[in-house]
């Protein structure tokens, strides 16, 4: 079953400043959409609107051709949002952190899965160390491990490459590509080049509410 997230005539204003207006876009399975723009141009706000967290905007969001507000549960079941803060508890170990996220999705999961996923993000040997003792990059990797932990069709990622080293960036780029090939889709903001991903669909947010869709 395929899916589609559509935005129709989105407009958002913050503190008297129009971030964007008349923004139309759609994302289907297999696509990667990149949101660009200078600092303060509203990238994070747009991602929060798309992930159903902010409601004070004009226009309509549709998920699988239904208004998002009506199919919120269905949408959230298929959405994975990673924000600025990694959402990793410093006092818990990576394994315990992942166990909670797995349970939040509604299934208890197995320790074997969690270990496999941690191994894939390069945290083997750190699975029982409290996350507070890990470096910023390693904490980010714990958050990124969630990408593989629970299969979600749509990933909304706000600056996922923050604090990640070179190999980590490459691995994540490959992970995004693999996700798109599997039929999933990604909406992300980043200041990285993302050259290995080829030509991406982009929304470029600019000054005074102008934006360009490529």
């Amino acid at each position: 079953m395929s899916f589609r997230l559509q935005g129709c005539q989105l407009r958002c204003e913050r503190d008297g400043r129009e971030l964007f207006r008349d923004l139309d876009f759609d994302v289907e399975g297999g696509q990667i959409l990149r949101i660009e723009g200078p600092n303060g141009s509203g990238k994070t706000t747009l991602l929060k609107i798309l992930s159903g967290q902010l409601h004070d905007f004009d226009g309509e969001l549709r998920w699988c051709d239904q208004p998002l507000a009506r199919v919120r549960d269905h949408y959230l079941t298929n959405l994975l949002y990673l924000g600025h803060a990694p959402g990793v508890k410093a006092a818990l170990t990576p394994l315990e952190n992942l166990a909670w996220y797995q349970a939040l999705a509604g299934d208890a999961g197995s320790e074997a899965t969690r270990l496999t996923v941690l191994e894939r993000v390069g945290l083997m040997g750190f699975e029982d160390v409290p996350a507070g003792q890990l470096s910023a990059g390693q904490q980010r990797r714990v958050a990124l491990a969630r990408l593989e932990l629970t299969p979600r069709a749509l990933w909304v990622l706000d600056e996922p490459f923050t604090a990640i080293d070179k190999q980590g960036v490459e691995a994540l780029e490959q992970r995004l590509l693999a996700h798109a090939r599997r039929g999933g889709s990604v909406i992300l903001t980043t200041h990285h080049d993302l050259t290995p991903l080829g030509e991406l669909r982009r929304i470029r947010l600019g000054e005074g509410g102008r934006h360009v869709i490529q």
């Binding site: 959402g87 410093a90 818990l92 349970a103 939040l104 509604g106 979600r152 069709a153 599997r182 039929g183």
Partner: protein, 242 residues
């Protein structure tokens, strides 16, 4: 990259499949683990409670009869302030590290999830306060016959305090210094619990009408359990995405 596992198979849209029980148990366990790893946060309200009660005989008078008459009120006020002290941290850590945002995005009813967090708060604040109260009651010369009622009233009442307080904590979690505002918001709502809680112990001392007071405390708790989770959930949505 190994591809021996289900993670690489084509993915499809999933229907919401519940799992509320699993999520609730996991949240209870997670919050308990977190609190037990930061023991000082659990100990703070208890130490405050003990210190305040210890100071009263010194400041007021060592006369056991005088102390016994004011003991119910003193114990209740001190327990209430100790609870208030612990409220600010209820959602703050989750807010700061981003896990509150993730909780709001979970496909589970938020009201149920926050109820789990409040239950943990009560288990580690209200319940220990109630268990500790008879010991401090002894120090104030409270007759042994009223100790059970004191514990029962505090256990029932502090659950309401946790629930109502969590609304205030949720409303102020986005503010850098929400402490004073939190007290102002929550204290007026604490007054009925204080009156009937202290009243129950007073009634036990006089030997009459304990059941009525406890019944009202129970009714207040039932009301709080029914309404507070929705209010907490709504307040969190406002605070996090305001």
């Amino acid at each position: 990259m190994s591809s021996s596992n289900t993670l690489d198979q084509p993915l499809s849209i999933i229907e919401p499949h519940g799992g509320l029980g699993v999520a609730l148990i996991a949240t209870l366990r997670r919050d308990l683990t977190l609190m037990l790893r930061r023991r000082s946060e659990v100990m703070n309200p208890l130490a405050f409670f003990a210190l305040v009660i210890t100071l009263f005989p010194l400041g007021l008078s060592p006369d056991p009869e005088l102390l016994a008459t004011v003991a119910p009120g003193l114990l209740w006020v001190a327990a209430l302030l100790a609870t208030l002290l612990s409220l600010d941290s209820l959602f703050r850590a989750d807010f700061e590290d981003g896990s509150l945002e993730q909780l709001l995005l979970a496909p589970q009813p938020l009201a149920a999830m926050v109820l789990a967090k409040v239950v943990v708060h009560w288990l580690l604040t209200g319940l220990p306060l109630a268990l500790m109260a008879p010991v401090l009651g002894l120090m104030l010369g409270l007759p042994a016959g009223s100790h059970l009622i004191l514990m029962l009233a505090l256990a029932l009442g502090s659950a309401s305090l946790s629930l109502v307080g969590a609304i205030g904590a949720a409303l102020t979690v986005g503010l850098a210094r929400g402490g004073v505002l939190l007290s102002l918001l929550v204290l007026p709502l604490y007054i009925p619990v204080l009156i009937f809680g202290a009243g129950a112990v007073q009634a036990a001392l006089l030997g009459s009408g304990v059941a009525a007071h406890l019944a009202i405390l129970g009714a207040l708790l039932a009301l709080a359990v029914m309404l507070a989770p929705w209010a907490i959930a709504a307040a969190l949505r406002i605070s996090v995405n305001g």
